[in-house]
């Protein structure tokens, strides 16, 4: 039997709740449950009773520029899902909460600190045969006044990544090993997440995001297991200035969540430009082990 969240030794266990906790708070007026998925059909097919949907493309992104929604957009989103500033939002979703932590990260750009993630996500809730519904709830629009979005603490931009390179500060590439090695670039037909070059940002550590998850039930590994991966194996320290990235910043928000809240790292930023920006930038340095192997073979 897995340990309870409180027994796992996390730095901030308060950001993670169990499915039991969610079950007990389904009708709590101070709690809003929100599902955020990769698969656009899942929420409509069924969801936790009372849960609203936060769609990562429509709700969290600016429709024109490559950026997140602004203060007004965020306020409108919160009002639409009936959330006020003092309410607790509990996020869950598919792919072991990959997209739920992405939404959690965006909430933090607007300082909505009353936010939690349901451990194990949608998959665990379903595996435990808990109640699901297709009924879409309607809530009274909340009163929500947000501050301006503050990117400084949790978000990194390309110039900051470049500045990170010179002093060799830690970067964490959370993509698959094939992407990291430059063996897999993207699909030719895929319009939105392509990059002209493969490989990784020089010096980046390869720590795929899924290593933080217990594969049998999608829950987060306990703090000792996480420290083994990030601290012992990869020599990261909680006092480090860390930047995590992936392809568009979603998988790296999962690692950002793990390092910031579960392991208590002081300064972790998510570079959401990620490989779709870096792999298309002119003249930025890239390490590509697969290309280097090909060059060596030709020579």
């Amino acid at each position: 039997m897995s340990k309870s969240i409180e027994e796992r030794g996390y730095s901030d266990a308060d950001v993670l709740v169990s499915a039991d906790w969610v079950q007990e708070h389904l009708k709590d007026p101070g709690v809003r449950i929100a599902e955020s998925n990769e698969d656009p059909l899942l929420y409509s097919s069924n969801h936790i009773p009372g849960a609203v949907e936060i769609d990562w493309t429509r709700d969290l992104n600016d429709p024109v520029r490559r950026d997140y929604l602004d203060r007004r957009g965020f306020e409108n989103l919160m009002r639409r899902i009936g959330v006020s500033r003092d309410m607790t939002i509990v996020l869950y979703g598919d792919k072991n909460n990959w997209w739920a932590t992405y939404a959690f990260w965006v909430l933090q750009l607007f300082g909505h600190v009353r936010a939690k993630v349901m451990d194990g996500g949608r998959g665990k809730w379903i595996d435990e045969k808990r109640t699901l519904t297709r009924e879409v709830p309607k809530y009274q629009p909340g009163q929500y006044q947000a501050p301006e979005r503050d990117d400084a603490r949790f978000r990194a931009f390309r110039d900051q990544v470049l500045q990170h390179l010179e002093p060799k500060l830690p970067l964490v590439d959370v993509r698959s090993p094939e992407e990291y090695r430059g063996e897999r670039l993207h699909m030719p037909e895929y319009p939105n997440e392509g990059a002209l070059r493969g490989g990784h940002i020089p010096g980046a550590l390869s720590i795929p995001w899924g290593r933080a998850i217990n594969q049998e039930d999608g829950t987060f590994k306990d703090a000792a297991e996480l420290r083994k991966i990030y601290v012992e194996e990869n020599k990261l320290r909680p006092s480090d200035d860390v930047i995590a990235y992936c392809r568009i910043g979603e998988r790296s928000s999962h690692t950002w969540f793990v390092l910031t809240y579960l392991l208590g790292f002081n300064k972790v930023r998510n570079y959401d430009g990620s490989w779709t920006e870096w792999g298309n930038l002119v003249q930025v340095p890239i390490e590509n082990p697969s290309a280097e192997r090909r060059d060596a073979a030709v020579a």
Partner: protein, 154 residues
């Protein structure tokens, strides 16, 4: 420009006439009626070579040759939460079975964006396009070296 098979084009036109909530509902309904591969074609454990590369919903594709040289396409989706994969399987099976293989082989894999919308993530579209690509590959094989009627491409 290569025209899509008529049944598929009609289906796509219907999809594109719907707003997002109705399109999602229609896809969920289609997924609910997805007919999994019949036992006479394949039984578990399904062979690895029939599995769609990159599809996390663990989808499989088979093609059964018909006397007229066309193919009937069958699918299995092992992840019960693989609703998008089930919807796509139902659409491909329904609109491409019995269509001349040269027309099926010419379908662009990015047809999945016309079905599901442009906002698919790369991971999700990788799996869905993989399903289309396996159907196209079966059609190409049929053009180059037609399958016997009892051979399902295994």
């Amino acid at each position: 420009m290569q025209l899509l098979p008529e049944r598929l084009e009609t289906w796509l036109a219907t999809m594109e006439s719907l707003d997002r909530p109705d399109r999602i509902q229609m896809l969920i309904d289609v997924a609910g009626r997805f007919p999994s591969v019949p036992p006479r074609i394949a039984q578990r454990p399904y062979p690895a070579e029939r599995r769609v590369p990159g599809c996390e919903s663990e989808a499989y594709v088979w093609a059964e040759p018909k006397p007229d040289g066309t193919l009937t396409y069958y699918f299995a989706v092992e992840n019960p939460q693989g609703i998008s994969a089930m919807a796509l399987a139902a659409i491909l099976g329904n609109t491409l079975s019995g269509v001349p293989p040269e027309k099926v082989a010419a379908i662009p894999a990015d047809v999945v964006f016309r079905i599901f919308g442009r906002e698919l993530s790369m991971g999700k579209s990788l799996g869905l396009m993989g399903m289309v690509n396996m159907v196209r590959a079966a059609a190409r094989q049929q053009l180059q070296a037609p399958l016997e009627e009892t051979n399902y491409g295994e």
